[in-house]
């Protein structure tokens, strides 16, 4: 801006220097014209008059002289060239008079003027003040902008606790405060003397010289090394402890059996080696084994008094396997309780070696014997019933499967024992890893959640496998049957169980009783044809799906099951979960059944579901738009008691209502949705989306997360209800300071600067800044 101004002033200067030697004729100027208007006008009129008289004769008519103005714009201050309004420059005037030498001095003068540089005009005082202000303002804005991050942080802070500057509670040690204190009274002096004699600290009571010396005794490196050693030892110890705990925690009986077996085998091997190398030591070992056998004998393990044995005793009546198992145990018992006869050396040797195996690993041996046709006695127990069931249902595909199963298992049994153990151990390891992985992947892959869950749950249940498998299979079958009868019966599903069965038992995992797909399919199928299924079965009847009593239930009932419609299905949702828990808690189940029966008896008359359906029907009818009947009896025909308007008329004047939109609950059999707007509820609803939210989902989510302690833990509750601003009563809150937030406050005081600042002149720096500003 100053640049333009300066150029202007320069222009003005040059204009002043231009010569003004033309006569001034100011037509524009009112002052000049008014002065000589009087006489000149009179003369001109007179002249005109004379001319007019002369021209009257017509002979010597003179041409009127044309008059033109010298210039359109005549100014007092500068000379203008003719008509065009352009400015007359000095050189233009000098141009025509080139020849005359008298003007040469003027020319020189002109050149000199041109060559001279003009001094800048000093700026106006106000202008200077303005520049000062602008510069100062920019500076201040810059200093203020350092506060921006702090202001933003404080505005967005979850919680602000005032006063902001928390002064660290620094306590000066007592010796500092006491340093100025000196003993004055004789008693004090005496005490001090005593202290000094015993080298007790007088001014620094923290450490005596002895303590200091002891501190220095061990060097730092030594201490560090020792500490590291100790740390390592501790870490190792804790590691082994953890490992032992982990191994101890493994519940699988089979795992432990295998482990024990392996141990036994190892001891056997060691023993053999020992026999060769050091017979005396071997003898000792033998004694040890003997004592182990004695211990075993003393225990009641084989006396048919254990839990397992008792249960077997009950089942033995019906179950061949159980009977066998019991017999085996009795034999074992007998064997153990037999007195040892002295035999020949070789025989004894042999017998011993045989017995060792049995004595050392009685459980494992037991297991193997029982595993003659299956890994688990429980599974064996329930198999015959299964096969029987299958026979009843007359499904030939299922028949070969137990055979195949048995075959595969027996094959496995025949394999070398060591190999089996290894595979078993490996498998356990694998499963554990798999379990871990599945747990991990549950978090990682939401898409595969269902599958991994499935597998993980299967893994979790792998220990219970033998218990549940039979039962679950028993449970699966009727359900699958149902699916087949309801839907079009996919072939793949039918083949699935067969494949499953053919797998060796060990590698098999217990199937989920009812997969989600199956449930879904069920629901879909049912929902597709809810009306097709007539309610043959009384709705109130609860579904008896307990697997324990399923074998006893007649075949006819199973057939009926698929006919039960969706409503009743909805009530029996949790059966699949139940079925797993049932075998472990038979009594509970009985209680439940009894309770159910009682409930049934108590509410025998109530048909709740039927009532609900009726209610829903009424609601649906009520919500349908009504047709308007506009017929007036008696119009256009006879009216009176007993006379009805004709059908044609009625049809004509009946206005049918348009079909409304489909109801929201049309596919939800157990729900009635009232779609009418409730005015009373509307008074408590937010009508407009509040400001910071951009979508109603966000707002609803904030509303739906409760903050009360009823729904949250104490910690979460406290966190959720932290107030935004906390002030302490009775504490003065001072304005925020630069030091509080870590900025360096301006070191020089405001006062000193003021005193040093005299009224200033415009510096070149300021000018530059100003120019920058004007350029913007």
């Amino acid at each position: 801006m100053s640049a333009t101004r300066a150029s202007k002033s320069l222009l003005a200067l040059s204009q002043q220097e231009e010569l003004e030697d033309l006569p001034k004729e100011d037509d524009d100027d009112p002052l000049n014209t008014s002065e000589d208007e009087g006489n000149s006008d009179g003369e001109r009129k007179h002249q005109k008059f004379l001319e007019a008289i002369v021209s009257l004769d017509g002979k010597n008519r003179r041409k009127l002289a044309e008059r033109s103005e010298a210039s359109l714009k005549v100014s007092e201050f500068n000379v203008s060239s003719e008509g065009s309004g352009e400015k007359l420059v000095l050189s233009d005037l000098l141009g025509p008079g080139k020849a005359s030498s008298s003007l040469s001095s003027v020319k020189k003068q002109l050149n000199r003027v041109k060559a001279k540089k003009t001094v800048e005009l000093p700026l106006h005082k106000e202008e200077i003040a303005r520049i000062h202000r602008e510069v100062a303002f920019n500076k201040t804005s810059q200093t203020l902008s350092k506060w921006d991050p702090i202001v933003v942080k404080n505005r967005q802070a979850e919680q602000l606790v005032f006063p902001l500057n928390k002064e660290p509670a620094a306590f000066a040690p007592i010796e500092h405060t006491l340093s100025g204190w000196k003993a004055r009274t004789p008693l004090e002096q005496e005490v001090f003397n005593l202290l000094n004699k015993n080298k007790q600290p007088v001014t620094d009571p923290l450490l005596t010289p002895m303590e200091k010396a002891s501190l220095k005794a061990m060097s730092l490196e030594e201490a560090k090394m020792r500490r590291a050693e100790l740390q390592r030892a501790r870490a190792l110890q804790s590691y082994y402890e953890a490992k032992a705990r982990r191994e101890k925690k493994i519940k699988s009986k089979k795992y432990h059996k295998v482990l024990k077996k392996e141990k036994a085998k190892k001891t056997l091997k060691d023993f053999e080696v020992l026999q060769k190398v050091d017979p005396a030591a071997a003898l000792e070992e033998l004694e040890k084994i003997e004592t182990a056998r004695m211990m075993e004998r003393m225990s009641l393990k084989h006396q048919n008094s254990g839990k397992w044995a008792k249960s077997k005793a009950i089942m033995a009546k019906y179950d061949l396997e159980a009977r066998q198992a019991m017999q085996e145990q009795l034999a074992k018992n007998k064997e153990l309780t037999q007195k040892l006869q002295a035999t020949s050396e070789s025989e004894e040797e042999k017998g011993n070696s045989e017995e060792e195996g049995e004595v050392l690993v009685p459980d494992v041996v037991n297991e193997i014997q029982m595993n003659g046709d299956g890994p688990n006695p429980w599974m064996l127990r329930s198999r015959p019933s299964d096969t029987r069931k299958i026979e009843v249902q007359k499904e030939p595909e299922h028949l070969p499967e137990p055979v195949a199963n048995e075959a595969s298992e027996s094959e496995e049994e025949e394999r070398p024992v060591a190999g089996e153990e290894e595979t078993l151990l490996k498998e356990f390891e694998e499963r554990r890893q798999l379990r871990k992985k599945s747990e991990l992947s549950q978090d990682a892959e939401p898409a595969n959640i269902r599958e991994t869950k499935d597998s993980s749950s299967q893994e979790m249940l792998s220990e219970l496998k033998s218990l549940s498998q039979k039962l679950s299979r028993a449970d699966q079958q009727p359900r699958k049957q149902k699916v087949r009868s309801v839907g079009p019966g996919p072939q793949g599903q039918r083949e699935e169980p067969a494949e499953e069965e053919e797998e060796p038992m060990l590698f098999q995992r217990p199937e989920r009783v009812q997969t989600i797909e199956e449930v879904e399919e069920l629901g879909r199928d049912e929902s597709l044809q809810p009306m097709e299924l007539p309610s043959h079965v009384p709705e109130g009847q609860p579904l008896e799906r307990n697997t324990s009593d399923q074998p006893s239930t007649p075949k006819g009932k199973k057939r009926k099951e698929p006919m039960i419609d969706l409503q009743s299905l909805l009530t029996a949702k949790s059966s699949s979960v139940k079925s797993l828990a049932i075998p472990t808690a038979v009594q509970e189940d009985e209680e439940e059944r009894a309770q159910k029966q009682m409930i049934n008896e108590a509410f025998a008359g109530d048909d709740v579901i039927q009532e609900f359906l009726k209610e829903k029907r009424v609601a649906v009818e009520a919500s349908k738009p009504k047709a308007v009947d506009l017929t007036l009896p008696g119009w256009g025909e006879w009216g009176g008691v007993g006379l009805k308007p004709s059908a044609r008329k009625r049809r004509r004047f009946l206005i049918r209502a348009p079909k409304g939109p489909p109801r929201k609950d049309r596919s939800l059999p157990n729900v009635i949705i009232n779609e009418e707007r409730n005015i009373h509820a509307a008074a408590h609803q937010v009508q407009v989306l509040p400001y910071p939210f951009t979508h109603h989902h966000q707002y609803e989510r904030t509303i739906q997360t409760p903050i009360g302690s009823t729904w949250n833990t104490q910690r979460a509750f406290q966190k959720l209800t932290t107030p935004k601003v906390v002030t302490k009563p009775g504490h003065i809150i001072k304005p925020i300071k630069a030091e509080d937030v870590g900025y360096r406050s301006s070191s020089r005081s405001d006062l000193s600067v003021v005193q040093r600042n005299p009224p200033k002149r415009l510096t070149s720096h300021h000018k530059e800044q100003l120019k920058k500003n004007s350029a913007h």
Partner: protein, 445 residues
């Protein structure tokens, strides 16, 4: 026979001392605690109602002045001490805990125009209509001594306001120009002018202490830099600004109390548009003071009420009034941000709670938890119509109520006219001016 027993760890249910609360085991299964939204809604509604029930903000009235109270000052070190200057030239020092006047000084002839305390709290300054600036000791004179000022400076013109620097022995007065004084000298170390006006108030920035703001009677607000001894910028508003107040937590924010019933919060780096226009008063706003937390401010108005505004809201959250309270001339928020004091025309200083329904005194932890929970609930459900209605409801004196109605009509008419004008003219020819920009006439560099 094996007997299974229930075994429990006593740590889980036995409290350590009998002063502890009994441990109540809880099951947080959401199915056991249904209807969380409706239940919380009802709780929020009840909390809102209780807040209104317990809203008793008025604490005390300090009477003793024999003329209207013209200015108030806080003690920087003591929460209980307040200074007030009256229109008859009397200065009184009050003890808030005892609610008594502890000292009376006849400081000036005519009005006490301004009063301020030194940052250390040992003395205070007053300016009056008698063209003098006087410095007084905070403690009263000893027995037998006369009540005399420490220093008296006789000026050429009337001083209308005074403020003390926050760290250094410097103070600023205003009148015909803004003067910066050293406490030790009898003449100003610098005086700054911009045009010829009577400047009604001057305030030091509490954070960047070399900054000053002043407002003059020709409708402008001028900012000064003390270090460079120059004004910085001037903004001209529609009407006169009575006073300004700097935000004590945000260095560049200040609020101006204007004659046109509004308050304007400015960012001093961008004066052409106020950050927020606060409107609720129905008459000229005479004074404004920030809460020391910088989150809210209180304004005193000629309409006989004081209002509390959140900084980021354009509407007030609270209005205080009493039947006997006349035009409120000055207002201060105490340094612990718990109380508000206002001095009014009818010679009284009133003490209010900053939060109308807050319980005073020590709260037990459970009370505190309940308070926080209720507060959060009110916040959460604040947009629900019932909650909003109850929370917003205030009883107003008839004069204010009718004025509000009247002004609403006027505003609506103005708005309608503007809309019509835009509707019936060539698109783009009538610019739409936002409410924030409407009141700014010009910014002078």
């Amino acid at each position: 026979m094996k007997v299974k027993m229930l075994s429990r760890n006593p740590d889980n249910y036995v409290r350590e001392t009998k002063l502890d609360l009994q441990r109540v085991p809880r099951n947080y299964d959401p199915t056991l605690h249904p209807f969380e939204v409706p239940r919380e809604y009802v709780r929020a509604l009840n909390a809102t109602k209780l807040e209104r029930v317990f809203a008793k903000p008025f604490l005390a009235s300090l009477d003793g002045h024999r003329d209207g109270v013209n200015c108030l000052a806080k003690h920087p070190k003591s929460l209980a001490t307040v200074l007030s200057g009256a229109c008859d030239g009397e200065v009184r020092i009050w003890n808030l805990t005892k609610r008594t006047c502890i000292r009376t000084v006849q400081a000036h002839e005519g009005f006490v125009r301004g009063i301020c305390t030194r940052f250390c709290g040992t003395s205070f300054f007053t300016v009056g209509d008698d063209k003098t600036v006087k410095q007084w000791k905070m403690d009263g004179p000893n027995y037998g001594e006369e009540e005399e000022p420490l220093h008296t400076i006789l000026g050429k013109t009337v001083y209308t306001g005074i403020d003390h620097h926050w760290k250094e022995p410097v103070f600023a007065t205003c009148g015909q120009q803004v003067d910066i004084w050293d406490e030790q000298r009898t003449s100003p170390i610098c005086s700054m002018t911009w045009g010829f006006d009577s400047i009604s108030s001057v305030k030091f920035n509490p954070i960047e202490t070399f900054l000053l703001g002043s407002c003059a009677s020709d409708r402008n607000i001028v900012l000064y830099d003390m270090r460079q001894a120059t004004p910085l910028k001037k903004v001209i508003l529609d009407m006169r600004t009575n006073t300004i107040c700097w935000n004590p937590m945000e260095a560049f924010i200040f609020t101006a109390a204007n004659e046109d019933f509004n308050l304007y919060t400015f960012d001093m780096r961008a004066l052409d548009t106020p950050v927020m226009v606060h409107m609720d008063h129905v008459s000229a706003v005479l004074d404004v003071d920030y809460s020391p937390t910088g989150k809210e401010f209180v304004s005193a108005s000629f309409d006989k009420s004081i209002r509390i505004f959140p900084v980021e809201k354009s509407r007030s959250r609270e209005v205080y009034h009493t039947k006997r309270m006349q035009h409120v001339i000055c207002v201060k928020w105490t340094s612990d941000s718990k109380y508000i004091m206002c001095g009014s025309d009818e010679m009284n200083i009133r003490l209010w709670k900053a939060n109308a329904s807050e319980k005073l005194g020590v709260l037990t932890s459970r009370e505190k938890a309940a308070k926080d929970y209720n507060q959060k609930l009110k916040e959460k459900f604040q947009h629900y119509p019932q909650v909003k209605r109850i929370a917003r409801h205030r009883h107003l004196p008839k004069s204010i109520y009718s004025q509000i109605q009247e002004q609403r009509v006027m505003k609506e008419a103005r708005r309608r006219k503007e809309v019509n004008r835009i509707k019936h003219s060539k698109p783009g020819s009538v610019p739409v001016v936002s409410e924030k920009k409407k009141h700014i006439v010009a910014v002078v560099k």
